[in-house]
């Protein structure tokens, strides 16, 4: 349910003029809901940010999600491209 819950917040924020982006671990759900922008990550439920205690990977996830705020061709869901290996 998490992608729907944050998706409902995301839609309201975007409608209020705040640029939004986000992560999704179930892209099918985010697509059905129609969130404006989301980065689809390849990890299991509970691991949206990748790996515990891996700041380099976690920062890269946020960087790629935030980069989607350049986009106005919404809705856009892009796959995370892993560029950071395990510490």
């Amino acid at each position: 349910m998490c992608p729907q819950t944050v998706g409902l917040v995301q839609g309201a924020l975007e409608s209020a003029g705040i640029t939004t982006t986000g992560l999704t671990n179930v892209a099918e759900v985010s697509e059905k809901i129609g969130v404006p922008r989301a980065l689809a990550v390849p990890w299991p439920l509970g691991f949206t940010m990748g790996e515990p205690d891996n700041p380099a990977l976690q920062c890269d996830v946020l960087r790629q999600a935030l980069a989607l705020t350049d986009r106005d061709d919404v809705p856009v869901i892009e796959a995370y491209l892993r560029a950071v290996e395990n510490d």
């Binding site: 729907q4 944050v6 409902l8 995301q10 640029t19 969130v35 299991p44």
Partner: protein, 160 residues
């Protein structure tokens, strides 16, 4: 990537039968300045609470629709997780709060000059809301009002 087709049978049936809410047409809110000048807020559905805040109701049948304001200067290690879903592995968030609320990472992006600043308030919800009517009517507008009052430029959603 988690695919519905690969989920356990009961969860798969539910995910396919559930009537997902649809946002409909949304006018994109174009970012008006570089990210390096933007104030960024997090929205986490990991069910985290800050010290002194009431935990989420684990027994609410259709989900606890309340939210918690998480201060921008909070110590991530002091956050506790109260998500009631058995559908995900909680060990990642238990080991590292940034897995559900990546505020330390956002601070590092500010330090690196990628993001302008961390917002003074962030939003925590517990994602397992099956009937989101009250969540949409009451909670969502409160989050929108808080972020608008704080001059948030970009909001980043973090589901678990």
């Amino acid at each position: 990537m988690v695919r519905i087709a690969d989920m356990k049978s009961t969860l798969k049936l539910f995910m396919r039968a559930y009537r997902w809410r649809k946002l409909g047409e949304i006018e994109p809110a174009q970012r008006e300045k570089p990210l390096a000048e933007c104030r960024v807020a997090l929205v986490s559905s990991a069910g985290i609470v800050a010290p002194g805040q009431a935990p989420y109701d684990q027994k609410a049948k259709v989900g606890d629709w309340s939210w918690r304001e998480i201060p921008g200067d909070v110590d991530v290690a002091s956050l506790t997780e109260h998500h009631n879903s058995p559908s995900f592995d909680h060990s990642g968030i238990e080991a590292d709060g940034n897995m559900g609320f990546p505020l330390d990472r956002l601070r590092e992006l500010v330090a690196d000059g990628i993001v302008g600043e961390v917002a003074p308030r962030h939003a925590s919800v517990m994602g397992s809301i099956l009937a989101p009517g009250r969540f949409v009517r009451k909670t969502v507008p409160e989050i929108v009002d808080a972020f608008t009052a704080d001059g948030v430029d970009v909001a980043l959603m973090v589901p678990v």
